[in-house]
Subunit: 396 residues, 2 copies
């Protein structure tokens, strides 16, 4: 799926909403991803964390003081310094600005890491003229390595001089790590504009899987946290590349309300689901994406548990890679997730496995457990030689 949205041109609706599992919002007008929602400016610069002159500091600012926001953070108990700073020192419902570095996750860096994340946050606050608590900070990259804070602070100051309403592409590229392609969109529907930028590709050099996503809109959003939680529950929380939860995952929604119009129903969900699927498709070595639908489970927890067991099974993942319609691996994973329980014997009649063996880039599989009426689905990456190469052959 590389290369579909790599420059600043407005894509066709079907080029952005290209997954079979996402319903494109009817009537959406696609804009250049460089253009942010009204009231937002952004920039990306190179400070030196990444080689080759690639941009590695992103800055995003909302010019509306009354902006409302929500921030969702990883629950990993070994959360990185920027996550701790956001959680403990940030007004998460009133985020004006976001500062990001790509190249250093600032994770497992102790007290110095916290001090560095705070310094980064405060430099951004000063540069754009807002209070420190109104700035969210996100970082992604190598872990356990002290941040080159002087370089980052220089980058933040430089970025503040480049902030532009057309900075979406620059910002989206400044947050990338091992991503093979950028993930971003700007669109207009029912009188509101929404722009979003995401990154994530499984794992990053050489430490942690991280996904970041930033969403801006001029829509009126009554309860940003509730809206964001619902949309994330159906998107970023439904995907798995390698089953590994990052120390740095961060999702930010900012809504100015300046359009006076509500967020069209389903718009945020569709955008976040497509971006989440882009992350799976860009997973380390991913060749094919699968969706597993578990139905007829006894309850929602059980459906979820079985779906995740199947999605994270290396046997199912490699069957997807090898186009092997091997329903036995689905049955085995389901049986393991239900260890100790009774279930009707799964087999070809209760398992939809044909697309495992097809050439479909997005393969749909399913299993009916015959235990009740609950269901759940999970999107997942396959498991390829390239995953092994990236993760085994790179040595710190």
């Amino acid at each position: 799926m590389e290369g579909a949205v790599t420059d600043g041109a407005a894509p066709a609706v079907e080029d952005f909403f290209r997954s079979r599992w996402v319903e494109a919002p009817a009537g959406a007008e696609m804009l250049s991803p460089a253009q942010l929602a009204p009231g937002f400016r952004a920039a990306g610069v190179h400070c030196g964390l990444k080689g080759g002159g690639k941009t590695d500091v992103g800055l995003l600012v909302c010019d509306e003081p009354g902006v409302r926001s929500a921030v969702l953070l990883t629950r990993n108990a070994a959360a990185a310094a920027p996550v701790v700073v956001c959680r403990e020192r940030c007004a998460l419902d009133a985020v004006r600005a976001v500062v990001v570095n790509s190249g250093n996750a600032n994770a497992a860096t102790g007290e110095q890491g916290i001090a560095d994340a705070l310094a980064m946050r405060d430099a951004a606050a000063e540069a754009v003229g807002v209070a420190g608590e109104n700035v969210a900070v996100a970082e992604t990259g190598v872990i356990g390595v002290p941040l080159d804070i002087d370089a980052v602070l220089r980058g933040v100051r430089e970025a503040s001089g480049r902030l532009s309403p057309a900075g979406g592409v620059e910002f989206s590229e400044a947050i990338m790590t091992t991503d093979r392609f950028p993930k971003r969109v700007t669109l207009r529907l029912d009188g509101v504009t929404l722009s979003a930028q995401a990154k994530g590709a499984g794992m990053i050099e050489p430490g942690f899987a991280t996904m970041l996503c930033f969403v801006q809109t001029d829509a009126v959003v009554g309860d940003p946290e509730a809206e964001l939680r619902r949309a994330v529950a159906g998107s970023f929380e439904r995907i798995t590349v390698d089953g590994q939860m990052s120390t740095n995952d961060t999702v930010v929604l900012q809504a100015t309300g300046a359009s006076g119009k509500p967020l069209p129903e389903g718009l945020l969900d569709a955008v976040l689901l497509q971006l989440a699927l882009e992350i799976v498709a860009d997973g380390e070595g991913t060749e094919r994406t699968g969706r597993v639908l578990v139905s007829e489970a006894a309850d929602a927890e059980e459906a979820e548990r079985v779906a995740r067991a199947i999605a994270n099974s290396p046997l199912v993942k490699t069957a997807l890679t090898g186009r092997d319609p091997n329903w036995g691996r689905i049955a085995q994973a389901a049986g393991q997730a239900l260890a100790g329980e009774e279930m009707p014997e799964p087999g070809p009649a209760t398992i939809d496995y044909e697309e495992l063996g097809s050439d479909a880039r997005e393969a749909e599989i399913g299993i009916r457990l015959g235990r009740g009426a609950a269901s759940a689905h999970v999107y997942f990456a396959d498991l390829t030689h390239e995953y092994i190469r990236i993760n085994a052959e790179y040595t710190t």
Copy 2:
């Protein structure tokens, strides 16, 4: 580790007990693995399930009517027909004979599968002259494919004519599937003899991971089930190749008591742990085995959960493959297992990661959580290109 014990000669103690994690029982005398414990006879024949004339039916009989036994079976909810037959139709504490096929797991085969497993069991019972309920049946191989029961029944009859006290090697080879080397031992200590045969290599063509293990002794074992449960809890339940629970796992202990001597303390544990480690070392594509020790956990459940999260993390597994001393991946997996909890930030001071980067065939890693006094350990296989090749490039 291939090739260490491949013929019928008695190995040196240190050649069988070759893992750094197993303490060889002091004073043990190694015998030829062909020789079974007194009172047992076995055979292996080719009936046609496997190609190339390889043996694929094994039969093992105890000539002591008063033999005591214990059988442990997989808890997978999609358990295979032989497991269901053992669980529901077998006197598990009085197993006289064991009949095994390798080549067809007889899993997900419905009512016909149950009928076939019963027919196999009854043919063995008739051939050796014991009641059907005193025969355990085990199968391993392809799944979802009807068993060629006529071939198996011919094999059982042929095997019954070849039963021999020196049939241990034949039997151990007749139960192999994709195993690269046989796993078996016979030894004598403190007046008792113990023989054992195991198989397992991660997953088998093309369906399920399966481990089987059969143990025979002339020792007096007061509570075979308790003895076996304890030894299995410290061995087969402490290993993971790919995190996948089989539909067919079966462990059988038979003890005649004819020696009048008790089982020496620790003997069964050491033998089963070494056999379990042979299965990990023979895992699909395994190059290195790891042991992760989690200590200072809040309680035993937590220690176990964190240890399994680390052992099953594809990032930790590939770091082991790549000899990458990447402690961040251990920290990340521990943090994920403790999601939502508080933990002191893990780092180089609390993680023993050096052996990840060494050439040690068996690498020891550890993490101290700083949350309490509980601990747990898990043995695991790395994740290699060969695993992907075997599981993705084989198409049913």
